[in-house]
Point group: C2
Chain length 334, copies 2
């Protein structure tokens, strides 16, 4: 049984998903505190049959709380995670704030659960695009080391929160009705459009999302020099991220071996039905715990047989965020 | 002045775009025959102020016709292109039927206009995804040979025709209204979803669209062994294709050199505004003749400096189909 638990950002897309997953997985816990900004205070949310009032996040929120899942943005994490740790609470933080901190473990439970042991109060939950790619690549990397990854993403609106999902819906309705489009959450129209992930671009030319995929994968895999390049694109999909992944292995690799390794690998479902032309799709991945992997094929551009292509879809809100955080919680308390 | 011209498949998405482009480019021509199936016969279309009745495509359609742009699907091309050639007509065929035929030139006018000289009555217009990638890669390849291409596409509904664009619109409206989704044109839901291009998959694991990008690029570039791998994905966008392109050059290459080469290259507009986070987007490429290219950056996964990443968007109906065909027509008649 988990002791007293808090969810910070309980009314957001990830916080709401975390409440659902707590119920679905039948986790036992003592008190559950739902914390959010003043705007959401007083709102009532039902979790496992308990009707809980949302409280305003404050410095006093963490007294007597054993574990807290933070999902209220980097600013709140920076401000309140140290306060929570000071109060004796273990923080699982969904923001990027502490991820690259050498003293903070960055964990995907299927990959590096051992890193949890080194925590000093804060454990970072990786970026969503990183997690869904990593659960698919890691089992292969164990058998035949991956020497290079070239990934292009197809990222859902949910990665920018519930307001972004609502913008996709309402803006699309406006477009279809011939009404004027007014982007508010995203800087560009998202209805029937796509665009480069709207995070700042560093001097190397990569945006922050791409840099996360590179740096976080290296940290999670304990491969500080792994060759990775990423192109992150936002697409008009509601809640699952898809990724086209090109891999170069140390030794020759075949699609059959890849299929065999991934079939039954933790957190993976192989969806690779050539006859029916059925492969991973975001609508199938949405609401699912598993990352769907398919289009497994030899990369014809690497004649030495070391290249494999994959296409995958994973629920950004579940394995990409809330589920991974709760799996970390389960590991910590089991 | 172009002599008598026919457009086969005049009521389809590409045929309609061809009619528009004829007017926009101010092309002079003698008689214009608009040909389509029996279903569309009698429909009237205005081209450059002339009101033209659509005629039923038949074996007699090409008497006295000098040039015909075919865009009515592979079956009609296979059946009627030889008939047209027999009648003395030069065919520019938008289907894949003759593209890999050794006796049929496959032409992107910015790249291999010289190949037009070898035609024996049929000239093939390349696949849309291939064209938009090739106009961006070719100018670079001239300066520093491209040794490997890894491309992932974000393909619009228009590639499957006007009915597919309508399905995207109506299905999205159904979804938003909570009505049941009934895919008809595409095998999977397209509203707020994406999926692997629904063409047959060969024994190498590539689908037909991907194989076209590989084989056609090699033919157009006269590089029969170029290393290319492609992942083709359909996304809920109306009419411009986007592509994430990872390149390996023979020698080290820098983003500055790439930007310099592409700025002013024929058929290209560089859209690479890091400060404003503005890069190629399908809504900006739609209706445009130029392929928009941006996110030009060094590929950090190739430490020898030979890697470059690009992201591009090009109008599938224009440069990807009708415009390229009309540019071929212009070259043939100039």
């Amino acid at each position: 049984m988990i002791e007293n638990l808090a969810i910070v950002g309980a009314t957001g897309a990830v916080g709401q998903e975390a409440c659902k997953i707590l119920a679905q997985r039948g986790l036992e816990f003592g008190r559950l505190k739902l914390l959010a900004s003043r705007r959401s205070a007083g709102k009532r949310i039902s979790v496992r049959g308990r009707d809980i009032a949302v409280e305003v996040l404050s410095e006093a929120s963490f007294d007597g709380v054993d574990y807290a899942i933070f999902s209220a943005g980097g600013g709140q994490s920076r401000k309140f995670a140290p306060v929570a740790v000071e109060a004796g609470c273990v923080v699982i933080d969904n923001s990027s704030t502490f991820r690259m901190d050498a003293e903070v473990p960055l964990v995907v439970p299927e990959i590096n659960p051992g890193d949890l042991k080194t925590h000093r109060g804060i454990i970072a939950n990786p970026n969503c695009s990183t997690i869904v790619m990593n659960v698919a690549v890691w089992p292969l990397h164990q058998i035949n080391p991956v020497r290079r990854i070239v990934v292009s993403t197809y990222q859902a609106a949910s990665g920018a929160g519930a307001v972004a999902m609502e913008e996709l819906r309402s803006q699309t309705a406006d477009y279809l009705a011939g009404r004027e489009i007014k982007p508010e959450v995203f800087p560009h129209p998202i209805a029937f459009n796509l665009f480069s992930h709207n995070t700042p671009i560093d001097e190397g030319g990569y945006n922050t999302e791409e840099r996360k995929m590179i740096d976080e994968t290296r940290k999670i895999f304990h491969e500080p020099d792994m060759a990775i390049t990423a192109t992150c694109i936002r697409v008009p999909v509601l809640r699952a991220h898809s990724e086209s992944v090109n891999l170069t292995f140390e030794r020759p690799m075949t699609p059959d071996v890849v299929r065999k390794i991934l079939t039954g690998a933790p957190g993976i479902e192989v969806v690779d039905d050539v006859a029916a032309n059925r492969f991973p799709m975001p609508i199938d991945a949405s609401g699912r715990d598993e990352v769907l992997v398919g289009r497994i094929r030899q990369d014809a551009s690497q004649p030495d047989g070391r290249g494999i292509e994959l296409f995958l879809s994973g629920d950004q809100l579940r394995k990409g965020a809330a589920l991974n955080a709760i799996q970390i919680l389960e590991r910590l308390t089991s």
